[in-house]
Symmetry: C2
Subunit: 191 residues, 2 copies
Amino acid sequence: METPVSLHPYLDSGLPKGSTSFSGGTLVCDCKDRPVKVRVNSGIAHNHACGCTKCWKPAGATFSIVAVTPHENVTVLENGDKLHIVDPTALIRRHACQECGVHMYGPVEREHAFQGLDFIHPERFEETGWPEPTFAAFVSSIIEAGVDPSKMNSVRNHLRQIGLEPYDCLSPELMDYIATWTAKKSGVLAQ
Amino acid sequence: METPVSLHPYLDSGLPKGSTSFSGGTLVCDCKDRPVKVRVNSGIAHNHACGCTKCWKPAGATFSIVAVTPHENVTVLENGDKLHIVDPTALIRRHACQECGVHMYGPVEREHAFQGLDFIHPERFEETGWPEPTFAAFVSSIIEAGVDPSKMNSVRNHLRQIGLEPYDCLSPELMDYIATWTAKKSGVLAQ
């Protein structure tokens, strides 16, 4: 029997359910010494598994777990001097700990449907109970990180089995949201 | 009852089946006078409905019908002087009739997973029997052309009802193909 591809330590044996009433918490990086701490003073939305090659993921994981929260509710609490921006030209300005590599928050600052939102990795919350991922995005992109293309059927089946519909871009809901923003900006749809 | 969105005159009342043994034909533009004619000397592949805003579609259609064929099998037969390239900077160099606007063929010339293929619209074949579309791509993009976002559920349901699974990018098969090409080019996967 072929070795299955590990999705993510939190997902491989089924999806732990969280709560939509989760109201925030503290994200902590992986450093034993002087960990970076970031406060999120609100709930999170659109939590999903992401197969893109840019999102931070723990060792051995093929997918990240990533959600958004309004930037205004995100505050660096401790050791912010350890943060750097991974790629200043990227849409998502991922702020990572330079020592352990964990991405702590990634604001979208430029004009975009997601402007004003920060991408965060809920698994870094000290607290439990954050709402679970509800879909898988950018699934085909895991090939770009080295996953054998012949394993894609089993990866997509595994995602479906744990309740995460696989998409090779974002979910239809978010893709429609982006298209609507674009259509309003271009004047094709009324503001 | 709300007015349903027309997908395409060829699709609205169900999907006419074609044949995978179709071996080519002649594409003809919409001009009565001096129509452009383009010979395709091979079968076509990956025929699909496309919701992007760049593909040519007949009046009233929300989706185009578009497929690929190797560039080496495409020859302009008549009235090629009427052709111009819609957007020379686009990946697909769509060659359109300047008079009627129909896109006749669109080669991918730059280094890309689709290099060497021409995008063509099978509904322009004089001949019948071309293989039918098998999925719908860039569905959310129809919003950018002005479709009311509240109609997206009914559009996706209609597509599924006629056997075209809707995707907001390309199909998983093609997305995996592109990702594999990218991974080989970057050296992540062996050539």
